[in-house]
Amino acid sequence: MADFLLRLSDATKSFGAVRALNGVSFELRAREVHALLGENGAGKSTLIRILTGAHQPDRGHLEIRGQTIRHLSPATAHQLGIACIYQQPTLFPELTVAENLALRLEPVSVTRRVNWRARREHATALLKRVGAVISPDAEIRSLSMPEQQLVEIAGAIGAGARIVIMDEPTASLTSKEQHLLFEVVRELRASGVGVIYISHRLEDIFQLADRVTVLRDGESVGTNQVDDLTEAELIRMMVGREVSQFYPPGEGQPGNPVLSVRRLGCAVTGVREVTLEVRAGEIVGLAGLVGAGRTELARAIFGLTPADSGEIFLQARRVTMRSPQEAVALGIAYVPEDRRRHGVILEMSVAHNLTMAIHRRLFPRAWLRLKAEERLAENFIQQLAIRTDGPSAPVSSLSGGNQQKVSLGRWLATKPKLLILDEPTQGVDVGAKSEIHRIIRELARKGMAVLMISSDLPEVLGMSDRIAVMRAGTIAAILPG
């Protein structure tokens, strides 16, 4: 029990009406990889942000290396040897790799002279330790995402961090890069560092972690030795219920193909040779790792990053999708993954958000009809059971699940032939989640073609009639649901 690096007890944190963490306790020993597991929205990122000083908990007690910490700021976290490698690296895009590392490693002193040669040598050495082939003089913005991640790790190693937090580090790595990363993590552990490892991917955890803590809906379900658990038990802890029974069953035969893409490719985003069909009344699940090209495929079909090779057929008619407007006009709807940035406009009202994609139909000749808009919005609020003060409340005042329903409602209003859903229940509480599942199933039953991207394995298995698995930008397999 001696060497706890970090001990957080009874931490609570709320954002507005949403309680992101509720009485969570967590501890980390030296020389261990402690995995933090949970569905999206379970509170993992909030916990990390508390440990790095980015957020202050409303309540809770934090002890780092035996020292009680009352107010953890990013600067003190840094001093205490906590380093965090985010999913999306926080680096300075305009500056070079060497400088990025130096800004993190060198003491903050204003008048000190910069030794460029030492910076470069130090950077080269650190990059070598993580096995990265990156020039120390390269600007960060010219690097790929995994390369940036390696720079972050190099920075953490260089800082002599005692506590390293890794947030979904393998999300966008190839299997070779992953392998390398695991080596680096094991080496860190051997040198006495405690690693907090956040991941969706069970295989990562079984390969790497010593202990695992599972979060669900902002609460800790428990901490166990990884060796004591089976995969099924772990899933049950995460999801909190038996998987299969909660998904509304599909029924009947699917109709004619609504969407059919052939050898679709998009060089900029790395989508290549995708051939896929979605029929009326069918839910096709699109599974695969983050970074496998699922969102990129959806973006190509929706015209956000137009495809540059291959063909798209919509109800057997060949179409090209050069912009979202064209896609919308042809009856395609896309509920994006990043709800807060893309799915809704937070500052605008529920009604305005709901009607945003049907301006042309609802407002002929561009003239706003506010009464009609309000009626339609109230209709959707009722139909989708959106909990809100009314159609004119700003979407930012809604909880995550209800925001997601607004995002979904916006596209249902277009009465699409094809509905593309990207992580439809990410960051959504359990209640709203099953409601969304019921709505999706209902839509399919009425003849809509649904393409559903999800990293939530039980969701994919439970909802899909067929499952397409993507890897490295293309479809690797198509399985029955």
Binding site: T52, A54, P74, A75, H78, Q79, T90, L91, F92, P93, E94, L95, T96, E99, A102, L103, R104, E106, V108, S109, V110, T111, R112, R113, V114, W116, D137, E139, R141, S142, V268
Partner: protein
């Protein structure tokens, strides 16, 4: 080499322009007029250094022209009251720093957008000056002009001062930690915060420093003539921002260096004399300046599109 592509291309454009002048207008290269030109532009160089810092930290200041005028007039008044030169200089620099601090407090403290704050400061300061001076010039005592050194020496002194400052600042921006912090703040304020820096404080101090430099520049301007024009510095902000942008400092922060700004300033500065010597209408100057700014941003836009992919 590749990293300084932008600065080098401006320098190349400048070299081409200067060479073209050798061929087509050799009259441009005469010591006295050239010296006068450089001396007249030396305050601009100092102001440009300050504004470059502000833009590198991802802010903007369009009130420098007004600050410049206020400092010039105050320096003139103090000198006329018989203050000794060093005291006047100190006062001008302090006044500039105070004005910069006001802007900085509103921008960093209240987190107001710098463009609007400095727009307001620009109007307020300029109008206040017009109100107080009613267009009257300030007559300066004899011994102030050219620092009491005589015209030629004075000009050399001013140019030397500007170049020295430029060199020192360019060196500091590259080689002192404080310079790199400004780049870091401009590149990504949130990342800077996570790295233990204090971006708001940095922004505030950058504005203070810029104000102080403007005060110094105003002083360098005052000593060049027997009177102080209360309208001096009109349009200075645009000239300087244009030079900074042409010199390769990204308006989105975090990128560029002072040597590029220097080259940009010289490039824009040689338009007007070049036009005169080429017997082209001088009234084309502003239009050409506009085209050069647009070309520079278009080039930057195309380049960043390529590297971002």
């Amino acid at each position: 080499m590749k990293r300084h592509f932008r600065e080098l291309s401006v320098a190349a454009a400048l070299a081409v322009a200067l060479l073209a002048l050798v061929v087509f207008a050799p009259g441009f290269y005469q010591l006295q007029p050239l010296l006068s030109l450089l001396a007249r532009e030396s305050p601009t160089i100092v102001v440009a250094c300050g504004v470059a810092l502000v833009i590198i930290s991802r802010q903007i200041d369009i009130s420098v022209g007004s600050q410049f005028a206020v400092c010039s007039v105050c320096a003139g008044l103090l000198a006329a009251m018989g203050w000794p030169l060093p005291a006047v200089l100190m006062a001008a620099v302090l006044l500039g720093a105070t004005l910069g601090a006001l802007n900085g407090a509103l921008i960093a403290g209240l987190r107001l957008p710098s463009i609007v704050v400095t727009l307001a400061a620009m109007v307020t300061l300029r109008e206040a000056l017009r109100w107080l001076r009613q267009g009257r010039f300030v007559d300066l005592p004899e011994n102030l002009q050219w620092l009491g050194l005589g015209q030629m020496t004075g000009q050399f002194a001013l140019i030397g001062c500007a170049v020295l400052l430029l060199t020192a600042m360019a060196w500091a921006m590259k080689n002192l930690a404080v310079g790199r912090f400004i780049y870091a703040i401009g590149s990504d304020a949130e990342a800077a915060r996570l790295a233990g820096l204090r971006p708001q404080l940095g922004t505030f101090l950058t504005f203070v420093f810029m104000g102080a430099l403007t005060g110094l520049a105003a002083m360098m301007n005052v000593v060049q003539s027997p009177q102080v024009d209360p309208k001096s510095g009109t349009g200075l902000e645009l000239k300087v921002i244009a030079a900074v942008v042409v010199g390769g400092v990204a308006i989105t922060g975090g990128r560029g260096n002072l040597w590029g700004v220097f080259a940009g300033l010289l490039l824009l500065g040689c338009i007007s004399p070049a036009l005169t010597h080429l017997r082209v209408d001088a009234y084309w100057e502003k239009a050409i300046q506009g085209v050069i700014i647009l070309l520079a941003v278009v080039a930057d836009g195309l380049r960043s599109r390529k590297t971002n992919r």
